[in-house]
């Protein structure tokens, strides 16, 4: 089928501001948006720029706004989108070129919540034990692929640079609710600030945007409750 892709373009070498360009391409209904982008890049306009790698929704490279919603270009098929498709870079971060945004701030926020196991007591021989039930408590948030779809879907992050954003909270949650971790007090202190969880207004955009199906808003709520009631 023939579809039209309206793509927001920006070339830092020559453009002052972004503009839209349209491309008519022939695609299969089962093609990914990424396939259509590749088709354009490989056969129509090699200057079109986007990130990609795994092409099946696990590496987090190609989050972008597709018809106004944050999606992975490799995880959404043409048949779900109609004949006219608008592609834009994620909102809230500086655009480097076309659909590529600067991720520095995103990774800085992520790093600020100490996203690593803090457990200083050396385990004895063998593994640290953890019951399947305890493992289950943080299962959902281990799925994060750091694609930034949630963080850049959140209206709060568009206006407030300090807000750590949903993705960072998800990654803090992953450790706060891990029975092996001893850094909870530290992480909760970091998140118990104006730039932390209290900025969240429970808008649910993040949950809608997550390509991994993580219940992001719920995770944020659990962290808030941990702060309010001091229970993990």
């Amino acid at each position: 089928m023939e579809v039209t892709l309206r793509i927001k373009r920006y070339n830092p070498d020559s453009d002052v501001k972004p503009h839209f360009e349209e491309y008519a391409v022939n695609v299969e209904p089962t093609d990914r948006v990424l396939d259509a982008l590749n088709e354009i890049k490989w056969h129509h306009d090699g200057t079109l720029t986007y990130r990609r790698s795994c092409a099946h929704g696990v590496c987090g490279s190609d989050a972008m706004r597709i018809n106004g919603r944050n999606r992975l270009a490799c995880k959404i098929l043409m048949r779900e989108l109609g004949k006219k498709i608008t592609l834009e870079p994620l909102i809230g971060f500086k655009v480097i070129k076309d659909l590529v945004v600067d991720m520095d701030q995103f990774f800085a926020s992520y790093k600020s919540v100490k996203p690593y196991l803090i457990a200083e007591d050396a385990p004895s021989a063998g593994e640290r034990l953890q019951s399947p039930e305890d493992r289950e408590r943080y299962d959902d948030t281990t799925k994060c692929i750091l694609c930034a779809a949630c963080t850049t879907a959140c209206p709060i992050t568009w206006t407030s640079e300090e807000f750590v954003g949903p993705a960072a909270i998800v990654n803090a949650h992953r450790f706060i609710f891990d029975s092996r971790d001893q850094g909870t007090a530290d992480r909760l202190r970091i998140l118990n600030t104006r730039s932390g969880v209290w900025r969240c207004r429970t808008i649910f955009n993040c949950t809608d945007a997550c390509p991994r199906g993580i219940e992001v808003t719920r995770a944020i709520e659990q962290v808030k409750r941990a702060l309010l009631y001091e229970q993990i």
């Binding site: 070498d13 090699g46 790698s53 696990v58 399947p132 281990t142």
Partner: protein, 576 residues
């Protein structure tokens, strides 16, 4: 131009590169260069598991793991290396757990384990539960955990830096790399006492592949151009269960949990070929079973695919243990695996060959295993060789952590004793020349067309089943494509984030890999593991119980044989 000086530079931030980096972090001044943000590395796509004879759910021993590895590799495995792999796997997996990796757990709270192809108890008696796993996203958990540790240890990451060249002194020491900072287009020279290549595989050489688009073999091709040999390039693994036409992997864990392959008649055909292990026979064999079924007209609807049947598994098992891959089937095929059969075909998956190394990760230059000072490699880019002619499922992730760790530790020792070698004159000369060529030409061949042609030829003539005539044709085609490549022109002549330019550079690397694969496949006149020659259907230990080393020089290609190290298990016929 930017110049940096480090004790060591690691190229690649997948499982192997990060595991090495963690050994060095805080103890030496190191840089980790990666063309992708580290968590986007292809290790994150690994699904099924990482093997270690923990014996958490049933009796197991590392010697059994070693035997399976050797037999799985059709006796081309270096057995001293296989012993290291199997023995150290146990401790390495526990180390991952200590770093926080969220493995699935047994009711007692220990790391859960499951079955995987070719892994057996008591030297081949029957399947054993050896694969430690985190649902079907084990690789995701590994890459996340190791990246987290990298952050914890303040590793100096050069994110989105693309290696363009590797540098050696006149007397052959490795002394650094040249990279392109993708965002700015600036060229950097990173001068170091030691370099580790952990840049992953090159599945993108083939049309149907499970590999990420970044899997273009850059780290293998660039040293090869500078005279470093590649080992066993003819051994490329096709995984039996890729999603039809797309190649996206459906992990062997699906069969480990009880999934069955069925042909067009609905018959579970694997047991006809491998009565003991059936669907869990090693990958090279199962891929050939499928090839045979299709060839004899028993593909589904007479086409070139068969079915993976999960419909008899309990929905709870599917949700708890195979959530991602069943999601792939829903997303990309619109098929519900709980009730419907999933169309699959073999997909190009894993490079057994690569940069030859010893068990410390040191790259060697000849059949006598002479070490190239300061040059290390680990992971899929390297060939230790623990996988021989065919890698067992779960053994790559083990390879990454075991040999990534060993390489890191050895580098630490090496750099404490070595002095910084001098850089060659004008270190960026080659890289700059190459980029200038690509950037200045405005009219010429199209990168995508050459790439598509290469992928089609490799899939058609150099995949699951090969023979002399087809390989010769492939050699001719690749040679023509290499000619065409010298005249490619790209659209993007800008400096910042020029992925058009990078794709062109990557294509050059893939063509080098393709050429080496074809050359190895032509030379090896026998069938062993993943390398199957229709015109030489038997394994030939008298002539070919040997690794191949291929060298590239201005005079053309040259091949040498390198003996296989056999310590415990004499080669036998491989039956399952």
């Amino acid at each position: 131009m930017a110049y940096h000086r480090f004790d060591a530079v690691i190229v690649g931030a997948g499982g192997a590169g990060l595991m090495a980096a963690i050994q060095l972090a805080g103890k030496a001044n190191i840089a980790v260069v990666s063309k992708l943000y580290p968590p986007r590395s292809h290790t994150g796509a690994a699904q099924g598991g990482i093997s270690a004879a923990l014996g958490n759910t049933e009796e197991d021993h590392w010697q059994w793991h070693m035997f399976d590895t050797v037999k799985g590799g059709d006796y081309l495995v270096d057995q001293d290396a296989a012993a290291v792999l199997s023995r150290e796997a146990i401790d390495a997996v526990l180390e991952l757990e200590h770093m926080g990796l969220p493995f699935n757990r047994t009711p007692e709270g220990r790391i859960d384990q499951r079955r995987f192809g070719g892994h057996t108890r008591n030297y081949g008696e029957g399947p054993v539960r050896r694969a430690c796993f985190a649902a079907d996203r084990t690789g995701h958990m590994i890459i996340q955990t190791l990246y987290q540790q990298g952050i914890k240890h303040n590793v100096n990451f050069f994110d989105e830096h693309h290696m363009l060249d590797i540098l050696f002194t006149e007397d052959g020491q490795c002394c650094g790399v040249v990279t392109l900072e993708i965002k700015t287009g600036e060229i950097h020279t990173i001068h170091a006492k030691a370099v580790l290549i952990a840049s992953g595989g090159f599945g993108r050489v083939f049309k149907i592949t499970s590999n990420a688009m970044a899997g273009t073999g850059d780290g293998v091709a660039l040293p090869y151009r500078r005279g470093v040999p590649l080992m066993d390039m003819e051994f490329y693994q096709f995984h039996p269960t890729g999603i039809y036409k797309l190649g996206i992997l459906l992990s062997e864990a699906a069969r480990g949990e009880g999934g069955i392959l069925r042909n067009g008649n609905g018959e579970a055909f694997a047991e006809r070929y491998a009565p003991t292990l059936k669907d869990l026979a090693p990958r090279d064999m199962v891929s050939r079973f499928i090839y045979q079924e299709v060839k004899e007209g028993r593909g589904v609807e007479g086409k070139d695919y068969v079915h993976l049947d999960l419909t008899h598994l309990s929905p709870e098992v599917i949700d708890a243990k195979l959530p991602d891959i069943t999601d792939f089937a829903r997303t990309y095929l619109g098929v519900e695996p709980k009730t419907e059969l999933v169309p699959i075909q073999p997909t190009a998956h894993y490079a057994m060959g690569g940069l030859p190394t010893d068990v410390e990760g040191r790259v060697i230059r000849d059949p006598q295993s002479t070490v190239i000072p300061g040059f290390y490699s680990a992971g899929e880019a390297a060939c230790v060789s623990v996988h021989g002619a065919n890698r067992l499922g779960t053994n790559s992730l083990v390879d990454l952590v075991v040999f990534g760790r060993r390489a890191g530790r050895h580098m630490l020792q090496f750099i404490s004793e070595a002095t910084l070698p001098p850089l060659p004159r004008d270190p960026e000369f080659t890289a700059r020349g190459e980029l200038a060529n690509l950037l200045e030409r405005t009219n010429g061949e199209n990168v995508a067309d050459i790439r598509r042609e290469m992928q089609a030829v490799m899939m058609d003539k150099v995949s699951v089943v090969r023979e002399s005539q087809g390989l010769r044709e492939a050699r001719e085609s690749i040679s023509q494509l290499r000619q065409a490549y010298r005249h490619v022109a790209i659209d993007d002549h800008g400096t910042q984030f020029n992925t058009d330019l990078l794709e062109a550079h990557e294509l050059g690397c893939m063509l080098d890999c393709a050429e080496a694969i074809v050359e190895g496949a032509l030379a090896r006149e026998e069938s062993r593991g993943a390398h199957y020659r229709d015109d030489f259907q038997k394994r030939d230990d008298a002539n070919w119980l040997a690794h191949t080393l291929i060298y590239k020089s201005s005079g053309g290609l040259r091949m040498e044989k390198k003996p296989v190290t056999i310590t415990e298990f004499e080669p036998k016929e491989r039956k399952y």
